[in-house]
């Protein structure tokens, strides 16, 4: 019998707490596959966020450090500067990275810290029950924008990848989605490249993955995928926003 699919070594063999239909599971797998494929299992240190992925330290089968809310890039900076031969990644949601942690992510990118950032954008605070995020779309209903996000009350959503790609310290910035096999394959390549950028000491790499939150969006998993494709991708276009690694692919 031939094994054609199995759990990556970089994932532990435990059930996750993620809601049905949530795409965190796919993204965890993509990160783990990249670690496996590059043979980084014994030298990787992951930094977990506060948010839905707060328990990521239980799911990645590598050394893990649980950061406080938004501070993962600072924690990762400390680790990477002390252990430059190791591989350090952060796994952060949009509340963590694009709201409370904006200073940390901007300056880690500006310094060109040689770390890999996995940024999961689902346009809402999931863990705390569906509040408005800095990435929540105009008109999107959340528990703190019950009539839909209004510009006059809450301003505009933040496009993190576009913003960070203006910084000279950023080497690779890409936005992908995990909506269907074709996009998952593209996401896989981006995650792999973000880790390879660090292995090759080429600087700061971030992959923004558009992700679903069926529970807090109030949609079925299938409807959530459709909403992501129709609404989120319109505001958050997919693509490579920065690539100074010398391997092309720049948009």
């Amino acid at each position: 019998m031939q094994v054609i699919a199995k759990r990556p070594m970089a994932l532990t063999d435990v059930p996750t707490h993620y809601c049905p239909g949530c795409t965190h599971g796919i993204i965890h797998r993509l990160v783990a596959e990249a670690i496996d494929e590059l043979g980084l299992n014994e030298k990787t240190i992951g930094v977990a966020p506060v948010g839905c992925a707060v328990l990521a330290y239980k799911y990645f089968n590598v050394d893990m450090h649980e950061a406080s809310h938004g501070r993962a890039p600072a924690v990762a900076t400390g680790i990477k500067r002390v252990l430059p031969e190791n591989i350090v990644f952060t796994y952060q949601g949009d509340g963590d990275l694009a709201s409370i942690g904006t200073a940390e992510i901007v300056h880690a990118a500006a310094r060109g810290e040689n770390i890999t950032v996995i940024f999961v954008n689902n346009a809402i605070y999931g863990m705390t029950g569906g509040q408005m995020a800095p990435t929540t779309l105009i008109g999107q209903r959340t528990t703190t924008s019950p009539d839909g996000r209004m510009v006059e009350r809450a301003g505009y959503p933040v496009r993190v990848s576009e913003m960070l790609s203006t910084l000279d310290g950023a080497a690779y910035i890409a936005r992908v989605a995990v909506t269907d096999p074709a996009n998952v394959n593209k996401a896989k390549k981006a995650v792999l490249k973000a880790f390879r950028t660090q292995v090759e000491r080429k600087g700061f790499a971030l992959v923004e993955l558009l992700s679903t939150c069926p529970t807090n969006w109030g949609l079925s998993p299938r409807e959530a995928i459709d909403w992501l494709k129709e609404s989120m991708m319109a505001y958050y276009p997919l693509g490579v926003f920065k690539d100074t690694t010398g391997e092309g692919e720049t948009k």
């Binding site: 014994e42 893990m64 450090h65 406080s68 501070r71 600072a74 400390g78 680790i79 002390v82 200073a103």
Partner: protein, 355 residues
């Protein structure tokens, strides 16, 4: 024997940290401690370490959180408003049981306050500071030589207890110059850190964490931390006493206040007042035993001198436990207590019994 060097307090603390094996420093500019990051920014790279000027004190302490988790001896420094910003990170470091050294060159507050010396962060330093039930080891030097010695000790204690250690000094000690000798030798081999996140290499994953979602598990963790703090109270009490043999009244002061209090004590004794002194060096653990002994020896009058409106005096009252009269005298806002003011207070105390 080393040689005596004339150094500014901030720079002496930084050099002492380097010699103690500190190889990672992250900080943010704030007066009156800027000479620490400035010194580190040139010295750290000479010894193969890393210096980062962080984007904020919040980031600096979280870089320390990461560097400590990765196994480095590491330090950050700041002054009062910046230390307030670091409290979140300090709580996480204490919760995850990581070693690090934090220097607070205290300035007046609250809010932006001023940039002159004060001792108004005593509560914050000794009672937790951030959220949750934790303690720092807090060491309070009264001279630049002592700041050098305690900084070196702080790294050893941090590793021993896997706990943040705070050097609580003030703008006077940071800015003044005194001759110092670097007597401390960093151990050839620093303590092993098998818990550090250094990549698995043949072991199961190490996890640095302070999250315990099951109440019974968090309670167990809290009680284990409590036991650690109790062990500190047992083994890490540090203080200095003077003239307790014949003292009728004892001045209690730490840090810069203690230097002025000592001068006052000496002059008062020359004038015939029987004055002794207790100088706490460890503020947590507070040297309760020094007060037990003094009370048992019959001393019933204590005068606490602080550059605050009265913070450590609460611990003096707890330590004397109603068995002595405890008075307080303080100057605040960056104003230092003056010798003759202290003597006048001592006179009030003894009811003008002498001179």
């Amino acid at each position: 024997m080393g040689e005596l060097v004339l150094m500014k307090g901030n720079e002496a603390v930084a050099e002492s940290a380097i010699r103690a094996g500190c190889r990672f420093f992250a900080g943010y500019p704030i007066t009156p401690q800027n000479e620490i990051p400035e010194y580190m920014s040139r010295r750290m790279f000479e010894v193969g370490g890393q210096f980062i000027q962080a984007e904020s004190e919040v980031s600096a302490i979280n870089m320390i959180y990461g560097a400590s988790g990765a196994g480095a001896r590491c330090m950050t420094s700041s002054s009062s408003p910046g230390i307030s910003l670091k409290q979140e990170g300090i709580s996480y470091i204490a919760g995850a049981e990581l070693p690090c050294v934090i220097v607070n060159m205290v300035r007046g507050g609250p809010g932006l306050g001023g940039i002159q010396p004060a001792q108004s962060d005593y509560f914050q330093a000794t009672k937790g500071g951030g959220h949750g039930d934790y303690r720092l080891l807090v060491l309070a030097p009264a001279s630049i030589q002592e700041a050098v010695d305690l900084t070196a000790l702080a790294f050893d204690l941090a590793d021993k207890y896997r706990n943040p250690v705070m050097i609580l000094a003030d703008a006077t000690l940071g800015q003044a110059m005194e001759p110092v000798e670097f007597r401390h030798q960093a151990p050839d081999k620093l303590p092993a850190k098998p818990w550090a996140t250094t990549g698995m290499k043949g072991r199961s994953p190490n996890i640095i964490n302070s999250l315990y979602l099951i109440p019974e598990e968090l309670e167990k963790h809290n009680l284990r931390l409590r036991d650690k703090y109790e062990a500190m109270k047992r083994d890490e009490v540090r203080y200095e006493t003077s003239h307790l043999q014949d003292a009728e009244v004892v001045v209690v002061a730490y840090g810069t206040s203690a230097r002025i209090a000592r001068t006052a004590m000496e002059k008062a004794r020359a004038e015939g007042l029987k004055v002794g002194m207790i100088r706490p060096i460890s503020l947590f653990p507070f040297p309760t035993e020094a007060f037990d002994k003094a009370v048992k020896a019959g001393i019933r009058e204590f005068l606490t001198i602080e550059m605050s409106t009265g913070q450590m005096v609460e611990d003096v009252r707890l330590a004397t436990n109603g068995q002595a009269e405890v008075r307080f005298y303080g100057r605040v806002g960056g104003v230092l207590p003056v010798r003759d003011e202290i003597i006048a207070q001592l006179r009030k105390f003894t009811g003008g019994r002498c001179c």
